[in-house]
């Protein structure tokens, strides 16, 4: 599902280049649930953003579902994300002026799905994450855990092959974190979707089939 070959990424800070990823080679099979674990600044979020097509690579190759992300332009990446990817963020990234239903359905708007179908599918997805009774609430009327569940529903709505989660439990208390990880584990178990979860919470990593430990831009070990 995912294959990276000697993936490198560096950021320019003024005139100096700061290498963040120093050659990452990784293969992830379909249906796997992977945790990326490591201290702050080790490059795990950068790696995840590259997998999501949100950052261009400096060198190396990235294939997702066989498609070469490193060769795609902005528009191709948009289409790719629309069809194949789902995102879950630490800060939820819901549109504050839209209700839960509208937030979830928005993805389908860009795919050209009709309104009734959009809303029906969004409602199904919200019910799946246990928010069937809160579909008309706006984000600020919901708790952090509920907001994160809305964002999971949004990531699922376009039926993606790969779901990328950047510290999904980072802003949540322990109990809510457990709830969220349970939902993700269930989804992983009941579908063939691949999950890559960035976290620095070892407990969250325990839900995953493999844990990749990163340090200073390289993969330290895989357990």
């Amino acid at each position: 599902m995912i294959e990276t070959i000697n993936l490198r990424k560096s950021f320019k800070l003024g005139k100096t280049e700061i290498p963040v990823l120093k050659g990452i080679d990784l293969k992830v099979k379909e249906g796997e649930m992977i945790a990326l674990l490591g201290p702050s600044g080790c490059g795990k979020s950068t790696f995840l953003n590259i997998l999501g097509g949100l950052l261009p690579v400096t060198s190396g190759e990235v294939y997702i579902g066989g498609e070469p992300l490193h060769k795609m332009n902005e528009n191709q990446l948009c289409l790719f994300r629309r069809k194949k990817l789902g995102f879950v963020f630490q800060s939820y990234n819901l549109i504050p002026t839209m209700t839960a239903l509208e937030n979830v359905a928005l993805t389908l708007t860009f795919s050209g799905v009709k309104r009734e179908e959009r809303e029906q599918r969004a409602e199904t997805a919200l019910t799946l994450v246990g928010l069937g009774d809160r579909i008309h609430h706006k984000p600020q009327e919901m708790s952090g855990g509920q907001q994160q569940r809305v964002s999971i529903a949004r990531a699922l709505i376009n039926d993606p092959d790969l779901i990328l989660a950047d510290e999904p439990t980072g802003n949540l208390d322990t109990k809510t974190s457990t709830d969220i990880m349970n939902i993700i584990e269930d989804l992983s178990a009941t579908s063939s979707k691949t999950f890559v979860i960035v976290t620095h919470d070892p407990e969250a990593a325990e839900y995953c089939s493999r844990t990749i430990h990163m340090r200073d831009g390289i993969i330290e070990n895989i357990s």
Partner: protein, 531 residues
């Protein structure tokens, strides 16, 4: 993303920030309304000035002058090039042209005095060929057209008794005369022309031998009536010389140096009013002439009365007939010849001015050009209307430009709103890009949003303009008196409204381009990280 969804999404986006959207729309409303109202005022002015002229019969009339005449009228000295003269053959040449329905010489008199109900009215006279009068597109308010044989029949213009009053304020106003011209229809009137007596003070030999002059000098009303029957008998060779200075013996309201009785409406002298010719005037009463003769003065005026019968009143033509007494060519020639001391020439006649009536407005230009090629100066109301119209077009452009400034400011407002909206919605744009919105989706979304602002602003602006225009017309109409029903100050045509709507929509769209491009080029990752 399909178009309908795009518009829906943009609409919802605008609705989510309704306060700012509404403020921006108000800006566009003001801009659009400014353009519409400005241009509508230009429209109204154009309509009120040209509209009346366009519908007047004079629009098919061409005036022909000998070349150089127009220049000398305007004070431009002409070079000594040979002037082409208007003769009877010119008239027949022009009347043979295609589309020409009537040609007549115009004999413009130097003005005559018409006295009615003890008031003097200075009127101008014009003589035309009565054989052509049927084809001259004259419309009558009352009465009938004179027949070609009726030498003494005249038409009077609707504004003959209208005076230009300077008033106390210094603003000139047209004052309707107390007399309704219609009252004169079917009645006989006397027109009096005057000339200065030649400096030697000797009575001059009348140029028209069989037309005796009348005397007239500061008469009391009684004397006025009396004088109707006191005209110099035909056999009296000389003109009665009437001094300009009053002798002081008969002070009256008539301080003008010469007055003549003009109206026979008292029917005191029926035998006179029924006379078609001046040759059979009743004999003069000596006492009347003696009364006026002893006066001592330097400038002496002599008068020459012409008795005519009013057969009709013209509808407004927008031309010189409105203020004139229109008479037969021969009668007018008789009057001018006397005034100018010219012998009636039996030979080839020359005219100063012709009137050419064209069958249709469309053909005025063709005929005008043909006559110009013959070497004459031509003036037509149509040509004047054309140049008036272009003046109004420029006026409208200027007014529209002023309104345009308001819309320009509004369009800057749209750019500002959309740009602010990007800053406010940066994160939202990032999220949309992450979940699959393409560069084009984002760009179109912003352009559609600003287009909607422009379009709604335009629509509301049109409604607002119609209301404002109505108010202007009502209030302005009241300020201008009863004329509002005739002339509108502000006139919005459907085309103008449509133009304004399209214009504001396009402005809205254009205003969205730059912000849209800016939004579309945001990095998704940077955008979702921003707060």
């Amino acid at each position: 993303m399909d178009k309908k969804e795009l518009v829906m999404l943009s609409w919802e986006n605008l609705w989510r920030m309704k306060f700012r959207t509404i403020l921006t729309i108000i800006g566009v409303v003001i801009g659009t309304a400014a353009i519409i109202i400005m241009i509508s005022i230009g429209n109204g002015a154009k309509q009120s000035i040209t509209g009346e002229l366009t519908n007047s019969p004079s629009v098919t009339t061409i005036s022909v002058y000998t070349s150089g005449q127009m220049e000398s009228m305007m004070g431009i000295s002409t070079t000594g090039e040979k002037k082409k003269k208007i003769t009877d053959s010119t008239i027949s040449d022009i009347s043979n042209m295609e589309h020409v329905s009537a040609v007549t010489p115009v004999i413009s008199g130097g003005g005559a005095v018409l006295t009615h109900k003890r008031e003097d009215y200075n009127v101008s006279t014009m003589g035309i060929d009565y054989k052509e009068i049927e084809n001259m597109h004259y419309k009558l308010e009352s009465g009938r057209l004179p027949r070609s044989s009726e030498e003494n029949a005249v038409l009077i213009g609707p504004s003959v008794f209208t005076k230009f009053d300077l008033g106390e304020s210094g603003f000139g106003t047209m004052v309707e005369g107390d007399i309704n011209p219609k009252d004169l229809v079917g009645k006989n009137i006397t027109l009096v022309v005057q000339r200065a007596v030649e400096s030697n003070g000797q009575p001059t030999i009348p140029t028209v031998a069989n037309t005796p002059p009348t005397l007239s000098e500061n008469k009391t009303p009684e004397a006025l009536e009396e004088s109707e029957s006191t005209e110099t008998p035909p056999e009296a060779e000389g003109h009665v010389i009437t001094p300009t200075e009053s002798d002081g013996l008969t002070p009256t309201e008539n301080d003008a140096n010469v007055i003549t009785p003009t109206m026979d409406d008292e029917a005191q002298v029926p035998e006179v009013s029924s006379q078609p010719s001046l040759t059979t005037q009743p004999p003069v009463k000596k006492d009347s002439s003696e009364q006026s003769n002893p006066a001592k003065s330097e400038t002496k005026m002599e008068s020459y009365p012409v008795k005519v019968r009013v057969v009709g009143v013209l509808s407004p033509t927008g031309d010189q007939e409105d203020h004139a007494v229109t008479m037969s060519q021969s009668k007018a020639e008789e009057m001018t010849n006397w005034q100018m001391r010219k012998e009636p020439t039996g030979a080839k006649k020359e005219y100063d001015n012709l009137k050419v009536i064209v069958d249709d407005t469309e053909n005025v230009e063709t005929v005008t050009n043909q006559i110009k090629e013959m070497g004459f100066q031509v003036f037509s109301l149509k040509a004047m209307l054309n140049s008036l119209n272009s003046v109004f077009q420029i006026l409208q452009l200027i007014l529209g430009g002023i309104g345009g400034v308001a819309l320009l400011v509004a369009s800057i407002g749209i750019v500002n709103t959309m740009t602010m909206s990007i800053y406010e919605r940066t994160r939202e744009i990032g999220i949309m890009k992450v979940i699959g919105a393409s560069v084009n989706d984002i760009k179109q979304m912003f352009i559609v949003e600003s287009t909607i602002i422009g379009c709604i602003g335009g629509l509301v602006g049109i409604i607002f303009s119609y209301i404002t225009s109505g108010l202007i017309n009502v209030i302005g109409g009241m300020a201008m008196g009863g004329q509002a029903s005739v002339a509108k100050i502000s006139l919005i045509t459907p085309g103008l409204a449509l133009f304004a709507l399209v214009f504001s929509t396009v402005i809205g769209m254009l205003a969205g381009f730059r912000p849209a491009a800016k939004a579309a080029n945001l990095s998704a990752l940077d955008a979702i990280r921003s707060e």
